[in-house]
């Protein structure tokens, strides 16, 4: 366990030293959302209808951007090798890395989302749903994305490849989360959607670390 804790601490320290790594995706999040009123229609009535979906698509893209770096440096500088040498469970380490990723990406996205909600004329009733869906949904994005990051860590220019692998897997999260926000906006219950997101989170937290651990070992063969 000690190495996991040390790794979580070290990665948070690294994030604090290089704020660009997590700030840039946040700015990207903001910019993507700003494109829609400019490109489609700034009419608040129209915007409020698509707000939930647009914010979620932007969050998804911002997450993908930040995922590429998750394991790359650890593979290149030998940290991954030291993990394996330590004999500690790669499953727990993969879970720890996904947690760090969520703290540096999903959490700030969630906290920033009300600002985008205002920009996109999100109905007042939908704000809690937006926060809740992002709070439950973005950890799933981090967990699933970590598998892709582990698979492509050894590949040169793996960023685009990572998006290709992971985007189809993100669809269920996108569907339920965006629909939760939309339903909240028109005054309907969204418990079912959040419940489904919660179930996906539980499933992803149990299963994806296995895949990540197996994928991490690929980067060590030779």
């Amino acid at each position: 366990m000690s190495l996991v804790m040390a790794t979580v601490k070290r990665d948070l320290l690294l994030a604090a030293r290089n704020p660009g790594e997590w700030l840039n995706p946040l700015m990207f999040f903001l910019m993507v959302a700003a494109l829609f009123p400019l490109a489609v229609d700034p009419d608040p009535k129209f915007l409020s209808k698509i707000a939930g979906g647009v914010i979620w698509v932007a969050a998804l893209l911002a997450t993908l951007l930040s995922l590429d770096a998750l394991y790359k440096a650890d593979v290149e500088d030998g940290s991954l090798e030291q993990w394996l040498a330590s004999g500690e469970s790669l499953y727990v380490l993969a879970l720890g890395k996904a947690l760090v990723h969520w703290i540096a990406s999903g959490l700030p996205l969630t906290l920033m989302s009300p600002l985008l909600g205002l920009m996109m004329a999100l109905p007042d009733d939908a704000f809690p749903a937006l926060l809740l869906s992002l709070g439950v949904g973005t950890p799933v994005l981090s967990l699933l994305g970590a598998v892709g990051a582990a698979l492509t860590a050894g590949v040169r220019s793996g960023g685009l490849l990572l998006s290709l692998l992971i985007l189809p897997l993100y669809i269920p999260v996108l569907i339920f989360a965006a629909s939760a926000v939309y339903h909240a906006g028109i005054g309907m219950s969204y418990n079912g959607q959040i419940g489904f997101l919660g179930a996906m989170l539980a499933l992803a937290a149990c299963l994806t670390p296995f895949a990540s651990a197996a994928a991490l070992k690929l980067n060590l063969s030779r």
Binding site: L161, L164, P168, M200, A211, A214, N219
Partner: protein, 248 residues
């Protein structure tokens, strides 16, 4: 029984045995595919009655449905072969998995294109965000992902393993994706005319469909075997039996 299974397993793991046995299978597979295709299409195109709602455009069913079914089961087979490779490190399984990917993706593409074409006379537009077509599209993306990943990783062993892991992750996700897409579809589209859902199909329509489904699986086996044999030859090129084969 158990011993027989163990022996079969060891044989399946032997590339040479695979190559030799499939040499004998290929003529049969070709014959079955050609005959099945001919019978199925003649019955389907000439003898099956036209659909009372869709008219003759429903005859696309004889390629659309078999291709769609196959594309889904091919992904499952690819994942299972990948799992066999991951667990028992059987190289044959990795070669089979790699051979399935492009063939499965081809059938997925066929299902998508024929579905879109079928949509034109049925719904009046080339593309409708119908639940089945949408999940087919996502399945195609999953195939693309596996193939792109396999191509991008230089080390052969690592690329096999990465493909296997991704296809297993995809396999777990497919039911979730299908369910969520169907749920999303009921929200956004009031139940419209479904392409292939019939309360009961006339036997004259159903029999050719069943023939085409079986034929498609046989043909798929043939295509995968052809590709796997090439993998076997390439990897065993320095062994004496391939050299003997080249000499003859």
């Amino acid at each position: 029984m158990w011993q027989w299974l163990v022996r079969l397993y060891h044989r399946l793991g032997s590339p040479k045995w695979f190559y030799e046995i499939t040499s004998r299978w290929i003529p049969w597979l070709v014959g079955l595919s050609v005959v099945g295709c001919a019978v199925g299409l003649v019955l389907g195109l000439l003898y099956a009655p036209a659909d009372y709602q869709q008219g003759n455009s429903f005859r696309i069913i004889y390629i659309h449905v078999p291709a769609a079914l196959l594309a889904q089961s091919a992904f499952m087979m690819m994942a299972v072969a990948g799992a066999v490779f991951l667990i028992w490190r059987m190289k044959m399984a990795a070669w089979v998995a790699r051979s399935i990917a492009p063939v499965g993706a081809s059938f997925c593409l066929i299902a998508l294109l024929t579905g879109a074409i079928w949509g034109k006379p049925t719904w009046g537009t080339w593309w409708v965000w119908d639940a089945r077509l949408t999940s087919m599209l996502l399945l195609l993306f999953l195939y693309f992902g596996v193939m792109a990943l396999q191509r991008a990783i230089e080390s052969e062993d690592a690329s096999h393993r990465a493909g296997a892991i991704l296809s297993l992750v995809g396999l777990v996700n497919i039911p979730i994706i299908k369910y969520s897409v169907e749920w999303w579809n009921t929200l956004h589209q009031p139940a419209t005319l479904k392409l292939t859902e019939k309360p009961s199909m006339h036997p004259d329509m159903l029999v050719p469909l069943l023939i085409m489904i079986v034929t498609t699986y046989v043909f798929f086996a043939l295509l995968v075997i052809l590709r796997t044999r090439n993998e076997v030859l390439w990897h065993e090129r320095k062994r004496s039996w391939v050299r003997d084969l080249l000499e003859s």
